[in-house]
């Protein structure tokens, strides 16, 4: 089959066609018979009908006497009916109704008179009898086809005399990782080697969809080896995912392997990330080429594999929940591609959702760990302005979001430690925390996008922290400053300080490469203050424009030797075994929206902030002074 590598194919068109072709090739759910006791969570492959009634006999619903109601007719308070002991039979709850009886009189209403019994009111036929079929009647449909079997449905089937059930067989999905640089996960990888974790992510996703993942050994970029691996997996599995090599580059053999073992319907889809996907098949078995970056891979699985798995499993996997959110920042998007943007969602005091786009790098797997939802930006859309309303497909339960505490601002490890302590105290705690720097905190609180944010903003004139910024940005109040910690800021340098850096004026030296923090961060403001104080022109510092977003990422650059110095907190230097030249003791505080101040979630956070447990943890991190 001839095909071209195109990247302008519409996703929906391609997926619909893929499904149509696969179905025409015979793709359908396969069935297997399992004992009902093992069928929880499975999906029925055909309708289930009751074999017997439940209850399957007429049973007494009370302790008392069983009799024919007719013989009690006429009984009243003043004219009781007298029964001989041959007229009734004593029964307990659950006992089969004796033949020739159609009602039960409760033991409380039975008056003994020697061997006889007196009744002072008439029984109604079938009173206190649990009749045959009260719950289920033989022949009734208990469950239709393609219905997920709940625990209660297990009970209904067993009660209806159904002991085995036809369920959809879980499809086996082969995963083939390929690539010369790829190595299995390890703690100490060599430079240039890439840890292969996509197959683990994909396995987790496929398993959650009701499929059985089967991961093969890593295959090198050798054409024949890849073809042979795809051939084997196609024989052994119901579908195959070939990870990476799906572009049209020099060492990309996935397309060759797929078109050798089967056919290619599309190569390349107009989505971002995920563009170089390959939609192939061998008879009724889908063969999917998935790009190598983890985020691209997840998007391709979600958008292309999920509808295929839905057919194979009979499950309804596409009932995502959607909410309308306000965009916290501008979001640009390419006109060439439909883009899937991960976002964090916060909810403000009026119940409005605020979406903050996360790092869009296709290699940034943590963006999916942090993401609360995804914005699907159409191909012909250039993006949105801050404040625009956008539809967000949720990645976690809406109830979790509605209860979540949104923290946007400067990052300090203490935020993560507080969250951890909160989770230990109450597992239901949900905190959404984004790192956008101290000025980002002020902006987010102004726009009511967050309940809280960390700030450490030095006023050059007064040498005081935070207060003047709040006075300037919130002239009418509306926020409260909760004192956090004092922490040591300083210059991080390689262990042993090989370049003999003494203070910030050394940064202009020709042999020094600097790594900076992003604009708007408190540390950057401190840095700008330092060079001004020393009369340094920022152009004279090599790497002043190299911006990192956290203390640890600055430390990481220095630790790997790609920078000689950077400003950051002591605890970050400590983690990376760096030397540290203290510069100042700054005040890292929390700015809280007054409307949220008295909510449980904020108060819980503040109480942990003041707790001994946190003090202990900060002491271990080092460089902190608590009030």
């Amino acid at each position: 089959m001839k095909y071209e590598y195109l990247t302008n194919t519409d996703l929906d068109k391609a997926v619909n066609e893929y499904i149509t072709v696969l179905k025409a090739q015979g793709l359908a759910p396969k069935a297997e018979i399992v004992p009902v006791a093992k069928a929880a969570g499975r999906v029925t492959a055909k309708a289930v009908y009751a074999n017997i009634c439940a209850p399957h006999y007429n049973a007494s619903a009370m302790d008392g006497i069983a009799l024919m109601a007719q013989i009690t007719f006429g009984a009243t308070e003043t004219t009781p009916v007298r029964l001989k002991n041959t007229d009734f039979i004593q029964v307990d709850t659950g006992d089969k109704m004796p033949d020739g009886t159609d009602a039960v009189v409760m033991i409380e209403d039975v008056v003994r008179d020697g061997d006889d019994v007196l009744l002072f009111s008439a029984a109604v036929p079938w009173q206190h009898v649990r009749q045959v079929g009260e719950d289920i009647c033989a022949g009734d449909m208990i469950l239709p086809s393609y219905t997920e079997i709940t625990p209660a449905a297990l009970g209904a089937m067993l009660a209806g005399g159904v002991l085995t059930v036809d369920v959809v067989k879980a499809p086996i999905i082969g995963i083939i990782p390929t690539g010369d640089e790829i190595i299995p996960p390890c703690e100490n990888p060599e430079s240039g080697k890439i840890i292969e974790f996509n197959s683990t992510i994909f396995s987790g996703i496929l398993f959650s969809w009701g499929a059985i993942p089967k991961t093969y050994e890593i295959v090198k970029d050798v054409k024949e080896d890849i073809i042979s691996a795809v051939k084997t997996a196609t024989e052994e599995c119901d579908a195959v995912i070939i990870n990476a090599g799906s572009s049209a580059g020099r060492d990309d053999y996935t397309n060759v392997a797929v078109s050798t073992v089967g056919e290619i319907l599309y190569h390349g889809i107009a989505i971002k990330p995920g563009k170089p996907a390959i939609l192939g098949y061998a008879k009724d078995k889908p063969l999917l080429g998935v790009p190598g970056y983890p985020v691209s891979g997840i998007i391709v699985l979600e958008q292309i594999m999920k509808p295929v798995i839905e057919i194979m499993t009979g499950k309804n996997l596409h009932r995502e929940e959607k909410v309308v959110a306000t965009l916290g920042r501008v979001l640009t998007s390419s006109l060439k591609y439909r883009e899937f943007i991960r976002v964090r969602l916060g909810v403000n005091e009026t119940g409005e959702y605020i979406a903050t786009p996360l790092n869009r790098g296709a290699g940034v797997v943590t963006s999916f760990v942090k993401a609360d939802g995804i914005i699907d930006v159409p191909q012909d859309c250039e993006g949105y302005e801050a404040g625009d309303k956008v539809e967000v497909t949720l990645l976690r339960p809406r109830a979790d979001l509605d209860d979540s505490l949104t923290i946007i601002g400067s990052h300090d490890p203490l935020i993560d430690e507080v969250i951890d302590i909160l989770k230990i105290k109450d597992k239901a705690t949900v905190v959404s925390s984004s790192h956008v720097g101290s000025m980002g905190a002020i902006m987010a609180l102004k726009r009511k996008e967050a309940q809280m944010g960390g700030i450490h903003l030095l006023d050059e004139k007064t040498g005081e922290y935070n207060i003047s910024y709040i006075q300037q940005h919130f002239p009418n109040g509306g926020v409260t400053l909760i004192k956090g910690v004092k922490r040591v800021q300083g210059i991080m340098v390689a262990k042993g300080n090989p370049k003999n850096i003494k203070d910030f004026s050394d940064m202009t030296r020709e042999d020094i490469s600097y790594v900076n923090r992003q604009k708007g961060s408190g540390t950057r403001i401190l840095c700008d203050f330092l060079i001004k104080e020393k009369g340094i022109n920022s152009k004279d510092i090599y790497g002043y424009d190299r911006e990192e977003f956290t203390h640890t990422s600055v430390a990481a650059q220095i630790a790997t030797g790609t920078a000689d110095a950077g400003l950051g907190i002591f605890s970050a230097a400590k983690i990376y075994g760096l030397d540290f030249i203290p510069i100042c003791n700054e005040e890292y505080d929390l700015l809280v929206d007054d409307e949220a101040l008295n909510t449980d979630k904020v108060q819980n956070f503040i109480s942990v902030l003041k707790s001994d447990e946190l003090k202990k943890r900060l002491a271990a991190l080092g460089g902190y002074e608590v009030y």
Copy 2:
């Protein structure tokens, strides 16, 4: 420890106290270490920090040449910079950045001039370099404690050099079924024997909560045996559920067993169903006595065991979704108990949810199969009027409900068969179908509670079906009648017609016991018409007040010999092997709300109604004539 069997204990108070006592006894999540690849869906037992950065080296993000950006400074369109082949190193995407380089120039921007290279624009330091820690920095917290591990989180851990993870160990929950009449599930149970399916339901529920159920053999109602079984299970499991025998009756030894092996905190809770629960413990192990009716058991598990399992698993299981619904009928509730009422939910064209209470019998497990949600009626509430707004806790995803087709009306097996065919065509189909009789359909459509309902209403004067009822109840229109099928109604009698019944006038015979349908059902209206026609007084028919809700349940009564005759459709008689005396050929049609008529869900239903597949199925059921 002394205790009393009380049934006025408040549920919340009891559960809070139970949790407090269990925690004081040491109940807490246990941890185990598992490989990250096996940790999908598990819950972290402590915070996870990255061991290494991801990426763990500076990598080229493009195919091109790596160099020191400095040496390119000053390059412009008109004044290119010339580089010797010792000034740069060729790199591919993903390659480690060679020592002494800090930028990559894309191959497209490299102009070869012999061995030299010309660049027409300056490189910015760190351009096209994927820097160390772009995704994760060593020391960063990847996940806090008690967080469910998503597939993406597996990738983040492996990328961060984390190969094993401390997760919460799944607790093992013992389930001991007890009772003299209890037998394992079978296809042909003896009368008086009760099929034991509760342990299967409980296992399914516990498994869905992340626990490992362990079901023991059935124990007879022998005090010593029950004590010994509870003792063994307490040793082998983390918690024990003793099913039934939890009342204070003659053969109820669960309380004795629990107080012998451990302690009882509460016996009896003011809830319905679920009153005779036993909240006990042996050291830090919960011992829960659960009543025998399946619905009571499920409620007790949900209300009392779930919060305990939450502690043991570290999972957040109580984030149910709630909606406000309008009650379709009056709902009475006892002032003595807090009641949990299962309801069906429909959604009308204006998006309003309508709740219809289901059978409240504690033995009716199908009520949980059919239920879309639960209404929690407070103890001091007498119930609600039809039309009242009530809060409903959902048992299925809200998105499913929002798309569902609500059918309320007369039942015919063809409704179930159409649903099954719809599910086979589109697995995402959700239909909510309630059987309330033909007049119920008219009322439901008047109140806009349903999109559709089955009706077969005979006009005594004209002999015509359905039309005159619609004219009377919808004088201004608003509904459309979709012709369904003709079906044979008749008298169902035991096989061989042993009592020699010829027509309806035989029903007054002294040796005949009749079983009727509920008022408002089309079959009941037919029945009332028949006795009027024959001049029979309903008081002269024994069992005229005995009401069943479906054709099959009428047939079931006759099949078990507790009634001699009843009116119903041919297909029901056929399932039960009954003889059938045809009376008339009635018209079973579908009444559709005009506002819903053109929706996909209604149109899909109608198209299946007219399909050959349905005709084939109706032919197999028998007694139908299709238009």
